[in-house]
Amino acid sequence: MGAVRELLRNNARQYGMLMALVVIAVLFGVLTQGLLLQPANINNLIMQNGYILILAIGMMLVIITGHIDLSVGSVAAFVGATSAVLMTGTGLPPYVVVVLALLLGGLIGAWQGFWVAYVRIPAFIVTLAGMLLFRGLTMILLGGETVAPLPASFRAIGSGFVPDVVVELPYTIWLLGITFDELHVFALLFGAVASALVVLGQLLGRRRLRRHGLSVGSRPWFIVKLVVLVAVLNAFTFMLAVHNGVPVIGVVLVVLIVGYSFVMNRMTIGRRVYAVGGNEKAAMLSGVRTKPTTFWVFVNMGVLSALAGLVFAARLNAATPRAGNLFELDAIAAAFIGGASATGGVGTVVGAVIGAMVMGLMNNGMSIIGLGVDWQQAIKGLVLLVAVAFDIFNKNRVRASRTAAAAASDGSGGTGADPVPAAGANGSAAEREPDPPPGTARTGGTGAVAGSG
């Protein structure tokens, strides 16, 4: 009994947001009378909200380094507008324009990264300036007009589908109010291959942990987890298979998610990004080149903002002066819902994905049931607050129980160990002054080195 409770408590943080995602999906599934989870809408969901996911990944990295980027919406609009003008004005082929657009995004990111990393102006200020600057430039460039339509091959980024082998079903099947009359083979294959990779990865990871004598979850729990994962994955690709197949943007998203997860979890550069955000001075004194790291995180954000701008313009088949309005807030909210910490050093790419899905589901679901933008904004604001409050509440609880456990396990050892001050100091600090996060509350301390950074 205790083990189950322990398991749930330790994983609450990890699975909490995932559960929230499921709850939101079910809630809107019911509210929209099943429309939300119709195959046609699943495609919509991906295509309409892909930009949030792209931005959320970049924003997660920015927030992990302890900064923020308010300019992503304006940058997306500016890059989208520039690309549209280039395509319609000069007739450059779309693939050239896409490359140029991503370069432009990188340049903009470098501009902002320079001020943040090397001049050390707070990112809030730099990107607030960027938000105004690039919105203004967008309007100047477009002269208040909308540029449309855009070339068809460009539009495919936002609304195209991966070429597929389509099998017409001999007869139409009705199931759960969903109509099936065709199957896209590639989409199904995609699901199968992804499932196999996921299972293999999980099994290898588990074996590795065990080989190093680290604790792994119980076997039944692990199997349940795998089955659920595979089921959800295949249900998802099946939905795609019975409608138009895999959207191009979907492939882009998968590549981004897998690629960034790998970089952040497995590569030294990812480790260094976390280190800079966790404690910049300690990272610097460990040989991490903190300024270039911060700089490149902003360059990366610029490139992803550009990509988001392209996707959005392609989907809309137009570049408008007001494109990308409030994108930054969706992206920031997604990152925080996905478990980022405002003090930096904490957050995962998968968290950003979950956060973006929460935001996307809410956008989509609320639109279907016909809520106005006014209500949508109010509700999204509340969800953000509740999600982060839940996370903080949860973290405090886990920390308290862990400290006690550590103390108990140390105490039996007897000699020089030092369990009590940890518990005592944390406890008293929490009771005396709840606001400052641990580690930042020190006044004075060892003054000699304080100013040296």
């Binding site: 190093h212 590569m267 966790g278 004194l285 020089g416 009590v420 406890g427 006044t443």
Partner: protein, 512 residues
């Protein structure tokens, strides 16, 4: 003097899963300085938090009697009303507010909610005079040194008409001069009838100042000592604290010293923001293989600044100097270059500069040597865990596994992780900056052993410490610094506290 101001009887306090206090008795006479000693984890701070109402009545067992009456403090406010004030190790001043505002904070005299500024300034000035601090009450606290901030804290306590003042490690962040000043002030306060409970790891100070010493161990009162009897020595107190006789506070070592392999010449550094302020001025020193070289100096002598500057110019503006290793000049223009050239620096402030507290032990251990566990920038996470676990075991870091967050560890274990991080990068020269500050006797001993093992492997160690007994106990050779210059070099045989102190203060008079 025979009159008892405070009695704590059979105090117990448990946290989920651990008993912090298992029945502590404490009796404090009116007008005395009562020292409370014990290893980290003995329960000193917990006991003081019980006394001051941080842990409210009902959350602990036993009785607190003040002036012979049983008291039930529900909050810090209650205990303050009874004349008890606690000054925590980490000061609770608001840096942006002025000295006067800080002193009167929470205790302002107001009329209709408006603060009486005249009264605030006047009262603050009186109190500052009382603690011997000649500062403008309108100056912001942030501009003061740690030692002066401590005095402001005491003035703040006095403003509340304190009768029983509790100080938690008051001198741990202070240099010798400021410490002496603080101890003198405590004596003066005693003369005015204010009782003092002082928690400290600095046993020499305690013997010097305390009227009574109570030793705690594992949440229990072990003994009460009377220094005036003359029989109380540091070793006597330590044996009470650790529960065993400690003949040697420093492990034995037979130095095997090789040839000089590391040398710094004419190292000069300017202050990072003040244009013509020279912080390190032409420092030269050398280290031999297998040697522990000490660097003694008062606060502000430039030791840390010198070390950080050599270590990849991570302090101030470089103004000249060369580093020679194994006979050829090496460059240390940034930390990465210093690490690549086999230099490591264990910083003074492990929480601010040494660790990423949110990260686990493994990630902290490998951060400075990621390329050792990665190929083409991809980390071998299996190998990483194995090597981190190996280090953890060798360093005897007390934790559940290498995946435990470092923020949850005790100070001594955190320090071992920082040391481990630099052992992982396999340096030839280790610069240790105050490696045992604020950690208990047992962990200190283990850290000394680790340092000895490193020198036995032929590495050189440069040890910066403000505790002269530590330098004398550990080092083969000691340099002294004052005002950014090397003022002396003594082999171990010729060094003692007086000689070092004389060299450390040789030029301080010229600057006041």
């Amino acid at each position: 003097m025979g009159d008892t101001i405070l009695e704590m009887r059979g105090i117990t306090k448990a946290f989920p899963g651990v008993v912090a206090l298992g029945g502590v008795d404490l009796r404090v006479r009116r007008g005395e300085i009562h020292a409370l000693v014990g290893e980290n984890g003995a329960g000193k701070s917990t006991l003081m938090n019980v006394l001051s109402g941080v842990y409210p009545h009902g959350s602990y067992g036993g009785d607190i009697l003040v002036d012979g009456r049983v008291r039930a403090f529900r909050s810090v406010r209650d205990s303050e009303a009874a004349g008890i004030a606690i000054i925590h190790q980490e000061l609770a001043l608001v840096p942006q507010l002025s000295i006067a505002e800080n002193i009167m904070l929470g205790n302002e005299r107001t009329s209709w909610g408006v603060i009486d500024l005249d009264h605030t300034t006047r009262r603050a000035r009186e109190l500052l005079a009382e603690v011997g601090l000649a500062e403008d009450p309108g100056a912001p606290v942030a501009a003061l040194s740690v030692g002066r901030q401590q005095l402001v804290e005491i003035a703040k306590a006095l403003a509340k008409d304190v009768r029983l003042l509790i100080l938690d490690e008051p001198t741990s962040a202070l240099n010798e001069t400021d410490s002496a000043k603080l101890l003198r002030l405590l004596r003066e306060l005693r003369g005015q009838g204010i009782t003092c409970i002082m928690i400290s790891h600095k046993l020499n100070e305690i013997i010097e100042i305390a009227d009574t010493i109570t030793v705690l161990r594992d949440g229990r009162t072990i003994e009460t000592l009377d220094p005036e009897s003359g029989a109380v020595t540091e070793d006597r107190i330590i044996s009470g604290m650790v529960g065993r006789d400690l003949d040697h506070r420093f492990p034995d070592r037979v130095p095997e010293i090789g040839e000089t392999f590391f040398e710094v010449r004419d190292w000069t550094v300017d202050h990072p923001t003040q244009a013509d302020r020279r912080v390190v001025d032409g420092v030269g020193l050398h280290v031999r293989r297998g040697e522990i070289v000490g660097l003694a100096g008062l606060m502000g002598a430039g030791r840390t600044e010198f070390a950080m500057s050599v270590f990849g110019r991570s302090y101030g503006r470089f103004a000249g100097g060369t580093v020679i290793k194994d006979g050829r000049e090496i460059r240390t223009r940034h930390v990465g270059e210093a690490i690549a050239n086999g230099i490591a620096y264990v910083p003074e402030d492990r929480k601010e500069l040494g660790l990423i507290l949110d990260d686990d032990i493994r990630r902290n251990l490998t951060l400075a040597g990621l390329e050792r566990i990665s190929a083409r920038a991809v980390i071998d996470r299996g190998g990483e865990v194995v090597r981190a676990e190996d280090l953890r075991r060798r360093l005897r870091v007390k934790s559940r596994s290498v995946l435990q967050t470092t923020g949850e560890l005790s100070g001594g274990n955190q320090q071992k992780v920082v040391l481990g991080k630099w052992m992982f990068s396999e340096p030839d020269l280790l610069i240790l900056d105050e490696p045992t500050r604020g950690i208990d006797v047992g962990a200190k001993y283990e850290i000394y052993q680790i340092v000895h093992r490193l020198t036995a492997q032929g590495k050189g160690v440069l040890l910066i410490s403000s505790e002269l007994p530590e330098l004398l106990g550990m080092c083969d050779r000691i340099y002294t610094m004052a005002q950014g210059r090397v003022t002396g070099e003594l082999p171990r045989a010729e060094a003692d506290q007086e000689a070092l102190m004389k060299l450390m203060t040789t030029t301080t008079k010229t600057r006041g």
